[in-house]
């Protein structure tokens, strides 16, 4: 116990000030297309990336469909009007004759990654992670490739996958999130710049955690990455996504798509730590995070688990979902969402039970402080033919301060009489009793709050892979710094 208290106090000491630690801009030449969006811009993006005809058609279809849509307004969010013609849709670090070794990679860039703490070099080899770092839309460097290739695992940037595994990309692209899905999915499908592609072949258990760090860099650029993960029969992979962005004054739009396909008896674990710039204490600036994430568990006994720690972004609109289409499939969603200052988050999940004996668990922990608004919005749906389904949902909200809001909007649709669906939600502030107890034992209030919040979020934190859990815990403390009292 004492050890734990010390750890936590170190943790808070570690991050005094509570300012955005990753707020710097690195000076790298970027290759930028002018502001605005039209068919020519899309053709240009496609041409720059040397894409085949079918992909260009896919983009153009998505763009034409996007033109018919209006931004969704149903979320419990106050989103200022976004001028979609005032965004740069493509920014790529200038290629320097194709870096063949680490020495050839722009040292500025390596420094940026170093400051982010990404173990891109030896440390990373030791830590056993393969990192596909996405910086302003184009994958710069991918490591551990050879080792993964031995097992037949494909882990590369999206554009590379288009070049080298077109049949795989063509087979799976847009199969889970169609470009007709929603406004931001259509936009992403039209202009996506890059992202990651993972394919785990039959029967292969990926020996390491796959990880991508995203980082928005050039000023005024939106980032539209696209991730596609396919786990074939009996495969297993754990995928980590972490986000940090430099401090900026103007809002930046981020509209990503993550698609996951899980085949028979395969398992995918997708973990996210999201810490984009949330705007300053007055609510100026910050990233708009409008993301569509969905997994299709189409195999028998397949399993998909989403774990997310959301501390950043001025506005978050994100619902990682599971479509449970294979018999006995399982979906899990564990989330901690922290908002402070003037942040707004409307996040949750969808569990769509289409096949018999599918099960799902949702654990969502919201923490709101300052003037922020934090909403959980989730859907649990059981289709008429899905017999014997089971869902358990728990969403708790913690309020720190009297100006913030915590909301819960669960949708439960049951169309089968053998399903058991449970939903529970509570909202309260930190108990005075617990605080008093800590104070009594000589723990100052702020530290006590840190302790209690970490304990509150532990159920979710425990689901994160080791490497992430530490960072996530730090983030949680940084975020709550100064918001108590």
């Amino acid at each position: 116990m004492e050890q734990e208290v010390n750890d936590n106090s170190n943790l808070i000491d570690d991050v005094t000030g509570g300012e955005y630690k990753y707020g710097f801009t690195s000076d790298i030449d970027t290759d930028v297309i002018g502001r605005g969006l039209n068919e020519d811009v899309i053709r240009l993006i496609s041409a720059k990336k040397g894409e085949p005809e079918w992909l260009l058609d896919y983009r153009l279809n998505a763009y034409r469909y996007w033109l018919t849509l209006t931004p969704p307004k149903w979320a419990h969010l106050n989103i200022p009007d976004i001028d979609f013609q005032d965004i740069i849709y493509y920014a790529a670090p200038k290629p320097k004759e194709g870096p063949k070794s680490l020495d050839e990679v722009d040292p500025e860039l390596l420094k940026t990654f170093d400051r982010l703490g990404i173990p891109l070099e030896e440390q990373k080899q030791l830590s056993g992670m393969a990192v596909d770092a996405v910086m302003d839309s184009v994958s710069v460097k991918t490591t551990h490739r050879a080792k993964l290739a031995e097992l037949g695992i494909v882990f590369c940037s999206f554009s590379e996958a288009v070049r080298e595994h077109p049949e795989l990309v063509k087979r799976y692209l847009g199969k889970v999130v169609s470009y007709k899905d929603n406004f931001y999915a259509a936009l992403n499908s039209a202009v996506f710049s890059d992202g990651s592609f993972v394919y785990i072949p039959k029967g292969v258990r990926c020996p390491m955690e796959l990880s991508t760090y995203f980082r928005i860099n050039a000023s005024g650029t939106g980032q539209f990455e696209r991730t596609l993960i396919v786990a074939d029969d009996d495969a297993y992979v754990s995928y980590l996504e972490g986000c940090t962005a430099p401090m900026r004054d103007e809002n930046q739009l981020h509209a990503a798509i993550v698609e996951i396909i899980v085949e028979n008896r395969a398992e995918v674990k997708y973990s996210t730590v999201q810490n984009w710039w949330a705007g300053d204490a007055q609510g100026r600036g910050g990233v708009y995070n409008f993301v569509t994430k969905r997994g299709l568990c189409r195999g028998v006994d397949s399993k998909l688990s989403w774990t997310q720690v959301e501390t950043g972004s001025a506005i978050t609109w994100k619902y990682p979902s599971c479509v449970l289409a294979g018999e006995g499939a399982r979906g899990e969603f564990y989330s901690v969402a922290v908002t402070r200052h003037y942040q707004q988050a409307d996040t949750g999940t969808k569990m769509i039970h289409l096949a018999p004996n599918t099960t799902s668990t949702i654990v969502s922990k919201g923490i709101s402080a300052g003037h922020s608004e934090n909403s959980y919005r989730g859907l649990v749906k059981v289709a008429p033919n899905a017999t014997g389904c089971r869902n358990y949902t728990q969403c708790d909200s913690l309020l720190l301060g009297s100006h913030c809001g915590a909301h819960t909007f669960p949708y439960v649709d049951v169309m089968n009489d053998t399903a058991i669906v449970e939903h529970e939600a509570t909202t309260s502030k930190i108990s005075e009793d617990q605080l008093f107890y800590c104070n009594q034992r000589g723990i100052p209030t702020e530290e006590a709050v840190g302790l209690i919040v970490n304990g509150y979020a532990k159920e979710v934190m425990n689901k994160l892979p080791m490497e992430f859990a530490v960072e996530a815990q730090k983030l949680l403390s940084i975020t709550l710094e100064g918001s108590v009292g």
């Binding site: 008429p384 909301h407 949708y411 439960v412 009489d417």
Partner: protein, 451 residues
């Protein structure tokens, strides 16, 4: 893009004079505001948030008649009706369609300080009272309420003077009896002055040979400081009937309001409860039960707003759905920044008893204050197999065991009814309902039979 609403707007514009003639005072004044509020609006449809499963647009789309000219109905209907509650001499007030029918027992037995009368008459005879209260709780922003306000010509006005407590329940009976498909706009205004206390039992019945009808009902309840109100609303209508009922409650310091909506037989029903807790130390209980079979459609929606400190609210809704019945529940608790020390709880429990029954649930919390304790829970499942098995091993036939479990499941809602006689009555009705009998009384053959 006005759809079903258009026909009523046209009707109103063409018959404004006749409608006014059939009513009086504040009711007429407000209907013009309502007309203005409906300009350019449409009735909610399944595409609208909060109405996912019930289309009000579709409910009001048929070509329905309105009794604008106040054609008198055969007066023996009310006298033939005998839905008395055993063991309690309740006071009976009857609405036949949208017209208040005064009964002799009511007029002779009403204690001093309590008014139960036609709303239209009250608007004419006590204008200052009705002006002060009518339309103050209901919101014209809701298209259904605005439509009701625009068309309603009569209803019931209940007023309980300061400190007066009615010792027995008041029974309001809504009878539907129409030879042609009709829209029945009905209005109820209940005003409780400081410290007043009242129990109300309302029930909806459909006469045997009645054509289909859509009832649009707006109930306004103004609960003064320290007042106490207990409403048990039992719907026993017929499969071809539709009901859109909106209840608005305003609560002041120390008020204690308990409302239970029990849907036993219906066609398509949508009940909305909006409770505005403006006072401190209020207690609000909202309860609901729905037993659905056949193709019945039952949708309850609640919206409890806490805008003052130290008040408590509890909500409990339970559904048992069989055959192809559809159920929906949408409840929300809103705690404003001005309402610290609020305790608000909401619970929704549902049982699906057949493969084609459907349940949609959306319990919501919107909390803008940190000094609160709020929670909600929702479950949808089926009867406990183990309990059924246990009962069968003890020699209880499966069918009976199922009924016993359902009865026990509903007991929690029944227990929220505070008047003993009404509670016993409800328990009896639920038992009969679950056994598959129609819920009408043994000694009365006037109601629509279900079998």
């Amino acid at each position: 893009m006005m759809g079903a609403l258009n026909q009523y707007l046209e009707l109103f514009d063409n018959s404004r004079h006749d409608i006014d003639n059939g009513s009086a005072g504040a009711m007429n004044r407000l209907r013009h505001d309502a007309r203005a509020a409906l300009e350019g609006r449409r009735l909610p449809d399944t595409g609208d948030e909060g109405f996912e499963k019930t289309s009000i647009e579709a409910m009001f789309a048929p070509d329905l008649g309105l009794n604008i000219n106040r054609v008198a109905l055969p007066c023996d209907i009310a006298s033939a009706f005998k839905c008395g509650v055993p063991n309690v001499s309740s006071l009976l007030a009857i609405m036949v369609n949208d017209t208040f029918v005064p009964s002799a027992t009511l007029l002779n037995n009403l204690p001093d300080g309590i008014t139960v009368m036609s709303l239209a008459r009250a608007a004419a005879e006590r204008p200052e009272e009705i002006d002060r209260h009518y339309g103050t709780a209901a919101s014209l922003d809701a298209p259904g309420t605005a439509l009701n306000t625009m068309l309603a010509q009569d209803g019931i006005y209940i007023h309980v003077d300061r400190g007066i407590k009615l010792d027995r329940p008041l029974q309001l009976v809504n009878l539907t009896s129409t030879p042609v498909p009709m829209l029945i706009p009905r209005r109820v205004l209940i005003v409780l002055e400081e410290g007043a206390s009242l129990s109300v039992l309302t029930c909806d019945h459909t006469m045997k040979d009645s054509a289909s009808a859509v009832s649009s009902q707006v109930i306004e309840i103004l609960a003064g400081p320290g007042s106490s109100l207990n409403v048990c609303d039992i719907e026993e209508s017929a499969p071809d009937q539709s009901r859109y009922s909106q209840t608005y409650v305003t609560m002041h310091d120390g008020a204690d309001v308990s409302i239970g909506g029990m849907t036993l037989h219906c066609g398509t029903t949508r009940n909305e409860y909006s409770v505005d807790i403006r006072g401190q130390h209020c207690q609000c209980h909202l309860g609901g039960m729905a037993i659905g079979s056949g193709k019945q459609h039952i949708d309850n929606s609640s919206d409890v707003i806490h805008s003052a400190p130290h008040s408590d609210s509890r909500q409990l809704f339970k559904y048992v759905l069989d055959d192809e019945a559809h159920g929906a529940f949408e409840g929300s608790i809103v705690v404003t920044p001005d309402a610290p020390y609020t305790q608000a709880y909401q619970s929704d429990r549902n049982i699906l008893a057949s493969a084609n029954a459907r349940m949609h649930t959306k319990p919501q919390l919107l909390i803008y204050n940190d000094e609160v304790k709020c929670s909600h829970g929702a479950t949808t499942g089926q009867l406990d197999e183990q309990a059924l098995f246990y009962m069968q091993t003890r020699g209880i036939p499966r069918q009976q065991a199922r009924m016993m479990l359902m009865q026990a499941f509903m007991a929690e809602v029944i227990d929220t009814v505070r008047v003993d006689a009404v509670r016993d009555r409800l328990r009896y009705l639920v038992e009969r309902r679950l056994a598959g009998f129609d819920a009408s009384c043994n000694d009365c053959s006037t109601c629509h039979t279900q079998q």
